[in-house]
């Protein structure tokens, strides 16, 4: 069965930054900046505790896109601005909407908000090859 794609399609993904997620992501990515893995370092940097690596949030947005496309190798582009840190226990909801589909390239805009409704990403846009 071939999946069909259309402008206006929407997709959603919810991810939680559990207590150990920044540490697991540090282990996988190599980003061991103390503000991500040490609550005290995050406190003294004025962040209220340790925060998730922005690139993990970006990866979550790409995961949402992969789930929609159904094929990780079709992802061709992602662009985000990191507008607010993701803290431990935050729940991030990614909501995407397909905005263009031409010449074999599909594009979507994604919003990413925490449980308080604040944007953690701005201007997030993804593209894929069909």
């Amino acid at each position: 069965m071939t999946k069909t794609f259309a402008i206006g399609d929407t997709f959603t993904l919810v991810r939680t930054c559990d207590r150990y997620r920044p540490i697991y992501y540090a282990a996988a990515s190599g980003d061991f900046n103390p503000i991500h893995i040490d609550p005290e370092a995050g406190q003294s940097a004025g962040l209220g505790g340790n925060i998730l690596q922005g690139l993990c949030t970006l990866s979550w947005a790409v995961d949402a896109w992969i789930a929609y496309l159904g094929d990780p190798s079709k992802v061709s582009k992602v662009r985000v601005r990191f507008s607010r840190p993701v803290a431990v226990d935050d729940v991030v909801t990614f909501t995407g909407k397909v905005v263009s589909l031409e010449n074999g390239i599909i594009a979507a805009e994604i919003s990413a908000t925490n449980q308080r409704g604040d944007d953690v990403l701005k201007g997030a846009r993804v593209e894929g090859r069909l």
Binding site: A28, S29, D31, S59, V62, P72, R81, F82
Partner: protein, 161 residues
């Protein structure tokens, strides 16, 4: 002190990195909500993780014949020029005032286990806006077959006070 524009054009690299299968799977596990361990945790893959990213049998039957990396696995090797730039003593950036402001990637080919990536980067822009310095680094990563795999645009924002 604002960052000096004279650093625009400064190059970093080449950096080489060999992609390992278990590291690629661990990255997909960590992003997907599981524990990045193939054996120790016993937790297994996260719900909903695409089988081509971790399931060796399913990947064998895929168009690639092997598992592939999450597209964003690229951060593991493609970050090197940006990482070097923000820590470059000649730039003198106070890391405690730095945040990762923006990020863009273009993906051209999937990463497969054993691929050897070569990444180079260059400072493409430095400017000051609203009391903050902006540092933009572009990276380009190719595999051992000289195929372009991923390009990145990495923007750091540094508070001046």
């Amino acid at each position: 002190m604002a960052l000096d524009k004279k650093h625009i054009g400064k190059k970093y690299g080449p950096f080489t990195y060999e992609a390992g299968r278990e590291k690629m799977r661990e990255f997909a596990y960590a992003v997907g909500g599981s524990v990045p361990s193939m054996s120790f945790s016993g937790v297994g893959p996260p719900d909903g993780l695409h089988p081509w990213l971790h399931d060796l049998e399913a990947a064998k039957a895929s168009p690639f014949g092997t598992i592939i990396g999450l597209p964003t696995f690229a951060v593991v090797f493609a970050l090197a020029p940006f990482g070097q730039a923000v820590m470059d003593p000649e730039l003198g950036i106070d890391l405690s005032k730095l945040v990762h402001g923006e990020q863009e990637f273009e993906f051209y080919a999937p990463v497969k286990p054993g691929d050897v990536m070569t990444t180079t980067g260059v400072i493409t822009d430095i400017f000051t806006k609203a009391g903050k310095d902006f540092l933009e680094v572009k990276s380009e990563s190719k595999n051992q077959r000289h195929e372009l795999v991923v390009t990145g645009t990495w923007t750091a924002v540094i508070r001046l006070k």
